[in-house]
């Protein structure tokens, strides 16, 4: 039997379509016929009814029709379904024969042609021999027909033709050969179909009546299971049940009822699962089961391709997987049932040979076809038959079948988001490849999925995969893979029992010694032999004996953690690095090299531990001890080196740690920990360890708890700690615009000479940009800074400093704006030092920063007042007024006012030589100094205008004992003032005091300052304190520029400050100049002394 025995026959799997034979067409030589044929076949689109067409000669031999039985009464069935039956109805017996004939209605030889056509129809009928096949005639015409009913000749001749051919009118067609060929053909399709619909009552499906077909099939399915099943016909029943089940499921999918299909399939499997049949041929049952699942998977998949949606838990993958499972079982059974003695050969004569070369009925035994009784007719023949089947089964490439099914399933599960299922199936595939001895493919698959299980931390599964992978790599002599898998199997991720681990470790050591490892257990002996020779070949092979394993992808049996002892090291101390190594294998293991790679590779040479006796056979006991890893114990290796001075400020990282197992002389492998620690399982372990509340057991000296070792994989090299002091002396706060003195004192505490001392001082960078504009620094305090000076003075050379010496350096800072600013004093120098016996020149630096507040030294208030010290909002032309300055100290330190000066604008004149009145005055905090200047304004145009007054300049300095300070000139702009012309100026001339009952002469002057004659009305109001003589009310005229004088004699009656009699002046020409305004120029009160008794000298003096 061929491997295809279990495949469903192709005619079962295809979608049944009606078979229509076309005859009378000469497709080879006649172009018109060819076009018709093409229109039928080539252009069949999905919207047309599925029909299979075939061109046959008119006298084609159709299968002979047997005489139909009229009843089943005395019929002894030989089997259920004959093998050729389906094919016959699909491809051999047409449902309809169409005869094409070229004939126009108006053909001149109509009669002859008609009889010829009738003859042809008769030939076809004869060849069909009474089969229930319809015949139709198509007339190929060259002329376009007239609309029906108009062509009388046509209808008459058509009926005549029908009569002659014994056809009904519906079976005659006219096919005009015109451009619309395809359109006509489509129409005819439907008609053909209708023609044969009555045919084959129970062949519903052929007619596309699938609902009915499904009903028939379901009945058939239950009937099959009602048959009495015994060992001899079990296979036949199952085969038939499988066929019918296939049909039902297929139709269910076609009807878009996938749940029905699945239910039917489940029922089918449940019914048939236990029908194993002959125990000696149990593999036949599993093969059949496998096939059932596979075909259902195929159907399911096909339905999905046609638009059905499957879900994660219900997809074809499960069926393929199950099919694979049965295929695996089948293979196992074959192993048990078909392992014959070597002498047993294929029986002769071949019991599977049949006379026709094929079976008459599906699912029957070739050596007893048609036999229907319970017992086999010939037990010897039966035995031979079974043996033949078993021998045949042995040759079947089971693994191939299984792998094909599995890969189908993998593809499905990939589609339905089942990554783990996919991995699982790939493991099975890998194992199957292993059984099939295709180790390369096996290893490829296993290696691919291994990392999934590793990252998911399913150690039990990983271990089982690794074991298979190890076998593969052993059998192929793959050294690197062998080492890698061994390392993982020996390590902590493996759940193998100790003795297994021990065995593997011993093998691993052998491999590293360049010896042949012991074979893995349960390997195919033949393959082992090949493998052994492969391994011995490897020994002699020079080169390619070094391997590097990147540990982060595996969980090897050695763990490593490397750390710097500190996150930073000063340049004058050695950088220290510890590497912790631990092994989890059962036996101690020795390594030959441990090396650390750092980001600056120059240091690598210092972080290297090597076999001291390289090449020597005898190891020093100490090194041997040192380089041996005892299982479960953590070893610590310390390295230290002196960093290079140019690495100051740089980071040193551990890029990797390499551990060499094996010998350079034989074979060795480098385990490489990128970043200095961690394999595929470490990150989780570290997380768990740090969460753990587990009590840390005390470890004896030299022992470390692995979990407590933290990682420090990079360190900074920082400059040496400076041994100098930087002190700042100053008197804060600074005052705006002063040259603020800060004294920097640098004292050396170094043991050797501090060379090249450089001071950088000034505004610390990175502050508000405006501060840079408003801060200047200089070394010269005698002159005030301007904008050309920088905010930061870099690298002021200060020479060398011997131990114990000190440098004092004053600096001056000019702050233009108030507020706080941070000042930086950075002292850099170099000094030589010795580290670990190595002389190095270290650059050191020390930073001091200070926050400096700046405040205003004093506030200047200015105001204009009249000669009576009354506040003035405006001043009058040519009338004197006072400019008053108040200087209020805001400084916490005393301020010395060196000088002050008024620089008047052209619009102001000083009345006398202005001279500073505050010169040399020292102001303490919140003290105030005032001075005033008598000024007047020259006439202005337009009566009134606002004029500038000028500047006020104060020269001052901080009064300090601490440092000599320079004088600062501060310029204050005087406010603008409004100047106004006045038409009449009044002033009085009177003594500075009066005396009771003594005459007090007062002279009033009235000046007309206009170019007009002015009428002035004057009245004097009486006062209680005075009697007076003079004009009480007068009206007079003052000429332009002239002055009128008026004399009054006042006679005081009371002592003290007394209000003078009020003079009311009314300017008739300028009514807007009020009396009050003018009165401001006149004194309102006078001090009156009491009358003296003897002499008034004492009172006068007071």
């Amino acid at each position: 039997m061929s491997p295809a025995q279990w495949d469903l026959p192709p005619e079962l799997c295809c979608r049944p379509v009606a078979f229509v034979a076309l005859t009378g067409l000469d497709v080879v030589y006649n172009a018109i016929h060819r076009a018709i044929w093409d229109a039928f076949c080539a252009n069949r689109r999905a919207d047309r009814v599925p029909i299979s067409f075939k061109v046959l000669p008119g006298d084609n031999e159709y299968p002979k029709c047997r005489t139909k039985r009229t009843s089943y009464e005395w019929y002894i069935p030989k089997g259920i379904l004959k093998t050729g039956w389906m094919n016959k109805h699909l491809n051999l017996v047409p449902a309809l024969v169409v005869l094409f004939y070229e004939l126009d209605w108006d053909d001149p030889q109509w009669k002859e042609k008609q009889s010829e056509c009738a003859t042809k129809v008769e030939i076809v009928r004869t060849s069909l021999q009474g089969r229930n096949t319809k015949v139709a005639v198509v007339l190929i015409q060259k002329k376009t027909p007239l609309p029906p009913g108009e062509d009388l000749v046509a209808s008459e001749r058509a009926s005549a033709l029908c009569g002659a051919c014994d056809l009904s009118g519906k079976s005659l067609f006219v096919l005009p050969h015109t451009d619309h060929l395809v359109g006509y053909i489509i129409r005819s399709d439907f008609l053909f179909l209708n023609k044969h619909q009555f045919k084959m009552g129970f062949f519903s499906e052929l007619k596309q009546d699938t609902q009915n077909a499904l009903k028939y099939y379901r009945t058939a399915y239950s009937l099959v299971h009602e048959l009495r099943a015994h060992e001899t016909n079990m296979l036949e029943i199952k085969t038939m049940a499988g066929f019918i089940n296939y049909k039902i499921c297929r139709l269910c999918f076609q009807h878009n009822t996938p749940l029905d299909a699945i239910a039917q399939f489940r029922k089918h499997i449940d019914l048939c699962k236990k029908k194993i049949g002959s125990a000696e041929l149990a593999f036949e049952h599993t093969a059949w089961m496998s096939k059932q699942f596979q075909s259902f998977g195929d159907l399911f998949d096909e339905a999905i391709k046609l638009g059905l949606t499957a879900i994660q838990t219900q997809n074809p993958g499960f069926y393929y997987q199950q099919a694979a499972y049965y295929a695996q079982e089948r293979k196992q059974q074959v192993g048990q049932l078909c392992s014959h003695e070597p002498g047993v050969g294929y029986p002769a004569p071949d019991p599977l040979e049949t006379t026709s070369g094929a079976l008459d009925f599906y699912g029957q035994r070739p050596w007893r076809q048609g036999h229907q009784s319970i017992d086999p007719p010939d037990s010897e023949k039966e035995k031979q038959g079974i043996l033949a089947l078993q021998v045949k089964e042995r040759d079947i490439p089971h693994s191939e079948l299984i792998i094909a099914l599995l890969s189908n399933a993998v593809a499905q599960f990939k589609k339905y988001k089942c990554p783990r299922m996919k991995s699982h199936l790939m493991v099975q595939m890998g194992e199957e490849y292993y059984h099939a001895k295709d180790y390369t493919k096996a290893l490829k698959l296993l290696d691919y999925v291994m990392c999934d299980y590793r990252t998911e931390r399913w150690w039990s599964l990983l271990t089982s995969i690794l074991c298979t992978a190890l076998k593969c790599s052993y059998l192929m002599g793959q050294v690197k893979d062998y080492i890698t898998y061994s390392m993982e199997l020996v390590g902590r991720a493996s759940i193998l029992p100790e003795e297994q681990k021990s065995r593997i470790e011993k093998n691993l050591i052998k491999v590293l010694m360049n010896e042949v490892p012991e074979p893995e257990p349960d390997c195919d002996p033949l393959s082992v032999k090949t493998a052994q020779s492969l391994w011995s070949d490897r020994i002699s092979l020079a080169g390619s004996n070094e391997f590097t394993i990147e540990v982060q992808d595996y969980v090897p049996f050695v763990q490593c953690k490397a750390k710097f002892l500190s996150p930073s090291f000063h340049i004058d101390e050695p950088v220290q690095l510890h590497v912790y190594v631990r092994a989890d294998c059962p036996h101690p293991v020795r390594f030959s090299k441990l090396c650390v790679s750092l980001s600056n590779q120059e240091y690598n040479q210092y972080c290297l531990l090597e076999d001291a006796s390289k090449g020597k056979d005898i190891l020093e006991p100490s090194t041997q001890e040192n380089m041996c890893l005892v299982p479960g114990k953590t070893r610590k290796y310390c390295f230290k080196f002196v960093a290079k001075t140019e690495d100051v400020g740089k980071k040193i990282e551990i890029t990797s740690v390499g551990l060499m197992l094996g010998r350079e002389t034989a074979r060795y492998v480098y385990l490489n920990w990128r970043g200095g620690w961690g394999d595929a399982a470490s990150s989780h372990e570290t997380l768990q360890a740090c969460r753990s509340f587990k009590k840390r057991t005390r470890f004896p000296e030299q022992q470390v708890d692995w979990d407590t070792v933290t990682i420090q994989s990079s360190t900074m090299i920082i400059s040496r700690v400076p041994k100098i002091s930087v002190q700042l002396t100053h008197e804060p706060p600074a005052l705006t615009n002063e040259m603020y003195c800060m004294i920097v004192t640098i004292q050396s505490g170094e043991d050797t000479v501090a060379k090249d001392i450089k001071l950088t001082a000034g505004l610390k960078p990175g502050q508000d940009a405006n501060l840079t504009q408003s801060t200047q620094i200089t070394l010269n305090g005698t002159e005030v800074c301007d904008d050309s000076h920088p905010a930061l003075l870099p690298d002021i050379p200060l020479g060398d400093l011997h131990p114990g010496q000190k440098i004092v350096k004053p600096l001056y800072i000019h702050c233009v704006s108030t507020g706080s600013r941070i000042l930086l004093f950075h002292v850099a120098y170099s000094v030589s030092a010795t580290v670990e016996g190595k002389d190095i020149t270290c650059k050191c630096h020390k930073d001091e920063t200070v926050t400096l507040e700046t405040v205003v030294p004093y506030e200047v208030a200015m105001k204009f007042v009249s000669s009576k010290f009354e506040h003035l909002e405006r001043v009058y032309v040519d009338i004197p007024f006072l400019l008053m300055m108040d200087i209020l100290s805001a400084s916490p330190w005393p301020i010395e006012l060196v000088n002050s000066e008024v620089q008047l604008a052209s619009s102001m004149n000083a009345i006398d030589q202005p001279q500073s009145q505050v010169e040399g005055v020292t102001l303490q905090t919140s003290e105030c100094a005032s001075e005033c200047f008598l000024l007047k304004c020259p006439p202005v145009q337009n009566g009134t205008s606002t004029v500038a007054s000028g500047h006020y300049i104060i020269s001052w300095k901080r009064k300090s004992t601490f440092a000599e300070t320079s004088v600062v000139r501060t310029i204050v702009t005087l406010p603008h003032v409004m100047v106004e012309n006045i038409p009449l100026y009044v002033h009085a001339e009177l003594p500075s005091f009066g005396r009771v009952r003594e005459s007090l002469p007062v002279r009033y002057h009235l000046e007309n300052r206009t170019g007009l004659v002015q009428d002035v009305e004057i009245t004097v109001e009486p006062s209680d304190a005075f009697m007076f003589s003079g004009l009480k009310q007068v009206r007079m005229r003052i000429l332009p520029g002239a002055e009128q004088e008026m004399l009054y004699n006042f006679y005081p009656l009371m002592a003290g400050y007394q209000v003078l009699p009020q003079l009311n002046i009314n300017l008739l020409r300028f009514p807007n100049i009020s009396n009050q305004l003018l009165r401001r120029f006149l004194p309102s009160r006078i001090f009156v002394k009491p009358q003296g008794r003897n002499g008034d000298t004492s009172i006068e003096a007071a």
């Binding site: 994660q312 499960f318 199950q322 988001k417 783990r420 699982h424 989780h684 768990q688």
Partner: protein, 134 residues
């Protein structure tokens, strides 16, 4: 067969012990379905989600049931398909018992969450359940 896991096994036990590896695979593959079921639930609904996930996927021979706690620890029970005495309700109550016992384990201050469970009480609960069920 019982498993508790956060995608890697915290506790796994099967009766009978032969063919254990196959069950491990079954449990492992069932996580696909668990993940798919959970991702289907919206974030807002995650809190009100039913812990019991029901039958995860069908196989010929076994039924695989799933359960996930709010802290995303998954419980999976695999039973023989032929074992018809176990209805949905029994499985539910088994999961509830497991969850209770698991909570007790978590309450143990010496238990480090994420470590394999080595609790005698948990063991005995599982054993009783297995004896009853199989």
């Amino acid at each position: 067969e019982v498993l508790c896991c956060a995608n890697y096994p915290l506790y796994i036990r099967s009766v009978p012990t032969q063919g254990e590896l196959k069950f491990h695979y079954t449990v492992h593959t069932s996580l696909d379905v668990v993940e798919e079921k959970i991702s289907g639930v919206g974030k807002a609904l995650a809190d009100q989600r039913e812990l019991y996930l029901g039958l995860l996927y069908p196989t010929e021979d076994y039924k695989v049931y799933g359960y996930m706690t709010n802290s995303k620890v998954k419980f999976v029970i695999v039973v023989d398909s032929s074992n018809t005495s176990l209805r949905d309700n029994e499985i539910r109550s088994m999961f509830r018992k497991l969850h209770n016992s698991f909570t007790d384990v978590m309450c143990n201050p010496f238990y480090n969450p994420g470590d394999p469970i080595q609790s005698k009480a948990f063991d005995s609960i599982v054993s009783t359940m297995m004896v009853q069920a199989f």
